[in-house]
């Protein structure tokens, strides 16, 4: 099996799993408990928090709140700060932001505004800025687009947004960027969402990085964990495993970045370009290659690849519902429905090998040619 759907989730880092195992079997205590054992765990959590945060941000200016996933982090950010006037985001966001913005409108909290995309999947910054005015309370721009891999320069965008309206709270969904891009948060970015399972962590663990001086109105309330910002007993094992996995990931981040970039180029150059069109920009995240078999259906290719042992993602579904059928992001880039229908998302991890890429090229070309022949 060749697994090239790492943008959906990655294989858990087994070494990190082993290291963190003690928090399942021996050190299972509640970190809020007052006896030594509990207190020790709370100290260990602090270390994990510091490891995860320090990789991309200045610990004196930022802090990390653990959540259950990237979606929760995005929702917490949106509902915590888009509380009046209008809120601005892009047409390319993950549904965790897109649906939350729709909810702002449904509940009459704030007017959602969507900035259009360039054809390469990045937000059109000029048009984004035009939507920001004195009534804007919240702006969210994703760091790496989860479908195309396009990179928004969020540090620069945050600065421009704050120049226009310094009261705006700026958030970025960094789920596809954290642990993959060489990057550090600028002080203009107030909030940043991360997720464990995209870099060898487990599902069910996420985090929201926030500027320290920012007061967060908690979305989940209860026992007052995470300094009252996110109640609920911490997933100690998941968090520790996340920290171990991230430690490893960041130690080879730059080398992986370059290597995967080459692999992605190899893959794209090996594909039959009379069948496949590339939608991902080559200067985007190397971990994602989005292509379209124009005129063919992405999901059918997905099944055919599946039968040959290649696991990839798609941007469309065999849905009779036209609303949910096509990727909104691909359409927002200005592509037509034929292109959108043929979308395949191939995504890598640092574990992806050259041999796998070579085999994937063979399979994709074969099924693409096969299906095109069958459809003629």
């Amino acid at each position: 099996m060749i697994y090239l759907d790492n943008a959906a989730t990655t294989k858990p880092n087994l070494a990190a799993l082993e290291k963190a195992k003690t928090y399942l079997t021996e050190q299972y205590f509640n970190p809020s408990a007052l006896y030594k054992e509990g207190y020790t765990i709370s100290g260990e959590l602090k270390k994990a928090r510091s490891v995860l945060l320090s990789k991309i941000a200045d610990e004196t200016a930022f802090e990390l709140v653990f959540t259950s996933c990237g979606t929760e982090s995005d929702n917490q950010a949106t509902f915590g700060f888009a509380r009046r006037g209008n809120a601005v985001t892009t047409a390319g966001e993950h549904s965790a932001i897109a649906a939350a913005f729709a909810e702002l409108k449904n509940k009459g909290i704030a007017e959602p505004r969507f900035a259009p995309l360039e054809q390469d999947g990045r937000v059109n910054v000029e048009k984004l800025l035009a939507l920001v005015d004195e009534k804007t309370s919240f702006v969210s721009v994703m760091h790496v687009n989860n479908e195309l891999g396009s990179i928004n320069d969020i540090n620069a965008i945050a600065k421009l947004v704050k120049q226009k309206n310094p009261r705006v709270i700026f958030h970025s969904d960094g789920v596809q960027a954290y642990g993959k891009l060489p990057f550090r948060l600028a002080k203009e970015v107030d909030l940043y969402s991360i997720s464990a399972h995209k870099l060898g962590g487990l599902k069910g663990v996420g985090g929201l990085i926030k500027r320290k001086s920012l007061t967060l109105a908690p979305y989940i309330i209860g026992g007052g964990q995470e300094a009252g910002r996110r109640s609920g007993t911490e997933n100690v094992f998941g968090i520790q495993q996340f920290a171990f996995a991230a430690e490893e990931k960041f130690s080879t981040l730059k080398a992986d970045f370059e290597r995967i970039k080459t692999l992605r180029e190899t893959l794209w150059n090996g594909l039959d370009q009379t069948i496949f069109q590339r939608l991902s920009p080559m200067d985007g995240s190397p971990y994602i290659l989005n292509i379209s078999a124009v005129g063919l259906r992405g999901e059918v290719l997905l099944h055919l690849a599946n039968d040959k042992g290649l696991l990839i993602g798609t941007g469309s579904a065999c849905s009779s519902n036209a609303k949910t059928r096509y990727s909104k992001v691909v359409l927002a880039c200005g592509y037509n429905e034929q292109v959108a229908d043929g979308v395949l998302r191939i995504s890598f991890s640092s574990a992806t090998t050259e041999a796998e890429i070579a085999e994937a090229i063979g399979i994709l070309n074969e099924i693409g040619r096969d299906l095109r022949k069958r459809m003629q």
């Binding site: 259906r297 999901e299 059918v300 997905l302 099944h303 055919l304 599946n306 039968d307 579904a317 065999c318 849905s319 009779s320 519902n321 949910t324 069958r374 459809m375």
Partner: protein
Amino acid sequence: MKSGAICARECNKKVAKVKKVIIIRYAEIFLKKKNRGFFERAFENNMQRALKGYTYDLVKQSGRYLIENFQAEEAEEMLSKLQKVFGAHSFSIAQETSSDLDSIFEAAKSYCLESGTFKVDTHRGDKRYPLTSIEISREIGAKILEYAKGKLKVDVHNPSFTVHVDVRDHGKALVFGEFIDGANGMPVGTAGKGLLLLSGGIDSPVAGYMMAKRGLKVDCLHFHSYPYTNMQAKEKVVDLANILAEYTCGTRLYTVSVTHIQEAIHEKCKAELMITLLRRFMYRIAERHALHIGGQCLITGESLGQVASQTIEGMTSSNSVVEKLPVLRPLVGFDKNEIIERSVKMGAYETSILPFEDCCTVFLPDFPAIRPKLSEILREESKLDVEGLIAEAFATMEKMEI
């Protein structure tokens, strides 16, 4: 604390005293004379199957059944299972008491509303009972009036509620408030076996339901077009078969791939005949399979004129390949909204409308032939290796016990 505990125990005793019984009245079975036993046995088996996992006693009485000795708090749950068993006309959840008037009255009280009008309706199975039915009703009615202190009135023509009293043998009486509708129809398995062509849509599960209601045992056949359709579409059909199976006392779901047939038609035949030709293949496969599993008819969810392939010409074309079995189309005269109504009622609608394609739309022509001519169909079909394609389809068959 202590007195509270004692009180709780006493209350429990009081609750335990009330014995609940589910009364099951059967529907058309009572019309049967000499072979009634056959229908009753099937009905009993089907009820027992529906109540698998519960402890209870099923007692047969003339024209009805009683379910006794079950956990009182499971009554509603058991009833909802029984409501899916064809053959039952109605149910009541009754209290069993001794047949003296005071005990009957005690039970009757729990069925009284706070205010309004009522009547007492008595049925006296035990003819040795000293009072007649009318006298019993009168006595219980009088006790209720006294108990209600003027808040209730008797109205025998249009009461807001009725208390039913059923005086049985051995000094027992059943008291209950309402008649709950059963699924009616005939017990599944008493009318033979049919093979339902089950798609992922709204109509075919309803068609299966309708024929099971007339006593047919229903097995299902589903055609899919993997890789053009996805796993979710197949899963949806399994879900629908599970919903249907609650009414059909279980079912078998057979799935067959027709991808290669669609590809062959796409390659060799006129585009507008895709559906017409494909349906002929489906009917052929279905008939052969039905005969193989001992089925006596095919069942489809076709409704006249609903889509291009369900015109009378379309039906003629697909029907003409079925040689030995009748094709039952229980929905043929139904409007879509009538079908939807039944789908909602049987609990399939929510699943049926999930937006997964159940048959390939990749090969769908823009304008399918609405009134295909048989001569043209035969000419196009002659371009295909019909027997070879059918054999290939059978090789993909999978079976699932539900």
